[in-house]
């Protein structure tokens, strides 16, 4: 910004842009610092006047309330910090699964919107246009209170083959539980994972050397499955025992149960976000010029090969940045879980705030948690984005 003209005739310092810039910055910082000090001062005065303590010692106190679903050991005697951790893990669980499923569903709908089939095309269009224009919160509450809670009662459970039971108390599915051979079998699985990684790495090297990229996504998991199956027969004892849900008294035992709260939040987030991802995918595919597709056809590539080798690698670069912001949105939107009774970090934070009265500390903690989630997601996606950029030639 400094121009050479300022050096030619001596400019007094109060008109010299270099000084002015420093001055302006000091001024801005001073104003902001002053405002912050003023606000903080008011806060401290108000808290002192009403004898409200401030500090994080309440995290060590007993929480005193129970939580419906938790992935770690938790009871009413646990501390507030543990309660918050349960919330954090619940948020992570629903966000992580949400990201995976919404990507799959979004990709399908996005491709369907470009289908030549009139009906498929229009249905996908209606799906996207409806979901993009209604608020997520209304959709979530609708899903929970008008769909999931209205499912059959537990005594009249809807039975699907499997057996899978659908009730308004939850979905109960058969599940595998560790048997007597599990401790050995676990190591087999680790070996399988290692083999899969090695296979992927070798194939990738080979692909780079020969210029013909094999289907890594097919072969690597296959290697894992082969190792896992071999281990199943070699390892003595039963590694896994199947467990079937059975109605006993007032609840199902055995199998695995998913609560309607969790299902409503997950389904709501997935369906809502998939509409946005579909648009991102569609725009990405359309951004690949028509000539590329025609050239691929001219080279004799099949439709699937065209998609995998020509369209997707190029579309990917357009898709990743907006996709990242959709993932961030999904993570933040998971805070609406409170509307469906799912104990995420926001819901539990509010409960603690209510029982202990520590609003400021709780809000600070919640913000830090969400900032960490956002930061983590964007770091990962930026890393991935850089990686696919390197492939560009």
């Amino acid at each position: 910004m400094t121009t050479t003209s300022s050096e030619q005739h001596a400019v007094p310092f109060w008109r010299d842009e270099r000084y002015l810039q420093v001055l302006a910055q000091i001024l801005v910082v001073a104003i902001i610092a002053g405002t912050l000090y003023y606000l903080a001062n008011n806060l401290v005065t108000a808290l002192a006047a009403q004898n409200i303590p401030i500090g994080f010692d309440f995290l060590r106190l007993t929480a005193g309330f129970d939580i419906g679903e938790s992935s770690i050991a938790y009871s009413r005697a646990s501390t507030n910090a543990q309660a918050l951790l349960v919330g954090v893990l619940n948020t992570l669980r629903v966000s992580f699964l949400g990201i995976i499923f919404s990507t799959i569903l979004g990709a399908i709908v996005g491709v369907a919107r470009l289908s030549n089939n009139w009906l498929v095309n229009k249905l996908a269009g209606i799906y996207v246009e409806i979901l993009r224009n209604i608020p997520l919160l209304v959709f979530l509450i609708f899903l929970y209170s008008a769909a999931f809670v209205k499912l059959p009662r537990i005594t009249e459970a809807l039975e699907l083959p499997g057996p899978i039971y659908l009730t308004n108390r939850g979905f109960f599915v058969p599940w595998a539980e560790p048997g007597d051979g599990w401790s050995t079998y676990r190591w087999v699985l680790w070996v399988g994972l290692l083999v899969a990684i090695v296979v992927a790495w070798v194939l990738r090297r080979q692909g780079q050397r020969t210029g013909r990229m094999p289907l890594i996504l097919l072969w690597a998991p296959l290697a894992f499955v082969v190792v896992a199956l071999l281990g199943w027969f070699i390892v003595p004892g039963q590694p896994l025992v199947s467990s079937i849900p059975v109605l006993e008294g007032r609840n199902f035992t055995g199998g695995n149960g998913l609560t309607p709260e969790f299902m409503a939040v997950l389904l709501g987030l997935v369906v809502y976000t998939s509409a946005f991802i579909a648009e991102v995918v569609r725009a990405g595919i359309q951004a690949v010029s028509k000539g590329q597709r025609e050239a691929a056809t001219a080279l004799g590539l099949s439709g699937f090969q065209t998609l995998r080798l020509v369209i997707l690698p190029q579309a990917q670069r357009v898709i990743i940045p907006p996709l990242t912001s959709q993932y961030l949105n999904l993570t933040k939107n998971s805070s609406l879980a409170v509307a469906a009774g799912y104990p995420d970090v926001y819901a539990i934070g509010r409960t603690i705030q209510n029982q202990s009265g520590r609003s400021i500390e709780i809000i600070a903690l919640m913000m830090i948690v969400y900032l960490a989630f956002s930061l983590g997601t964007s770091l990962f996606m930026n890393w991935y984005n850089k990686r696919i950029r390197l492939v560009e030639r």
Binding site: T45, A46, A49, Q50, N51, I52, P53, G64, F65, D66, I67, G68, E69, S75, R76, A77, S145, V149, K150, R153, I154, N168, R169, G249, R250, N251, T259, P260, E261, V338, A339, G341, P343, A347, R350, T351, Q353, N354, Q355, S356, G357, S359
Partner: protein
Amino acid sequence: MVRKSFIMLALLLVLALTLAACGQATTPAPAPAPEQPAVSEPAQVAGNTLATIKARGKLICGVNQAVPGFGFLQSDGSFAGFDIDFCKALSAAIFGDPNMVEYRPLTASERFTTLQAGEIDVLIRNTTWTLTRDTELGGNFVHTTFYDGQGIQVPVDSGINSITELGGTAICVQQGTTTELNLADQMAAVGVQYTPVVFETADETVNAYLEGRCDAWTTDMSGIVARQSIFPDPTAHKILPEVLSKEPLGPMVRHGDDQWFDIVQWTVFATFQAEEFGITSQNIDTFMSTENPNIRQMLGLEGEMGVKLGLSNDWAYNIVKLVGNYAEIFNRNLGPDTPLGLARGLNASWVDGGLLYAPPIR
């Protein structure tokens, strides 16, 4: 050029109008009472709640809007209920008019912070008196207006007869209430495993129970009875015999204003005392010629009781005349003639074996 100046003019106007709108929107700082100069201690500012209310011309009362019988938003947009009547009684004591009240419907989760922040003058929203709330939450409870206890309700056909039979059940409960804590405590005490399903509002809680999401739901007995009265089939549900907790419900005021605390406290006592004397809103004028010195003092015919509170001397007269005594308030909202049909129980006057006992007004 003309156009440009037009735009500038418009921008200026926008700015001015917006500022005006903003200036209107914020409640002006309460003017300090003329005798006391503005003092820097905020407790002093918080200490003149009464002056603020009088300057504002209305009382701001934090209430419930969805508990039939206690605080309920009627379809014409007005509020009614047991708690609401105590807001009216306060308004009658201060202004001689029961309707100078602005009702602020609050959720269970936000009620304490709004009180702390000075947004409401008094919280009368079936709030349980506990030590933590009385200390760390920045408020003081005045005398209890309703003695309640927590109960658990189950469908009759569930075959559950005691809380020890609740093993493996799902229980619906409202977030941020003492009921959530009591439930956890009691179930831990009897060693029963259960799954809490926690909702933000009472409506959602009840709804989930009625749809069969939970085997049982829990809240204060009065709340259960109130809700049950509007269930599609009230007879299909029953309350378990165990009472999980003591739930003294009463008004709560902010820390740091003793005069205001006294006013709310004695407004409650006045309704007790009027019942004890047999004074009702119907017959109160016949007491104006009484010789009983206690009644004369209460009704402001003798002594300066109201002035001692910072009110006019007919404060108690206004409460009873315009709102009624405790029995009237109870019967109007919760009593046998209402859909709730609650018995007085612990909430009877001490002369009838209840717990309502007002200190002498003298």
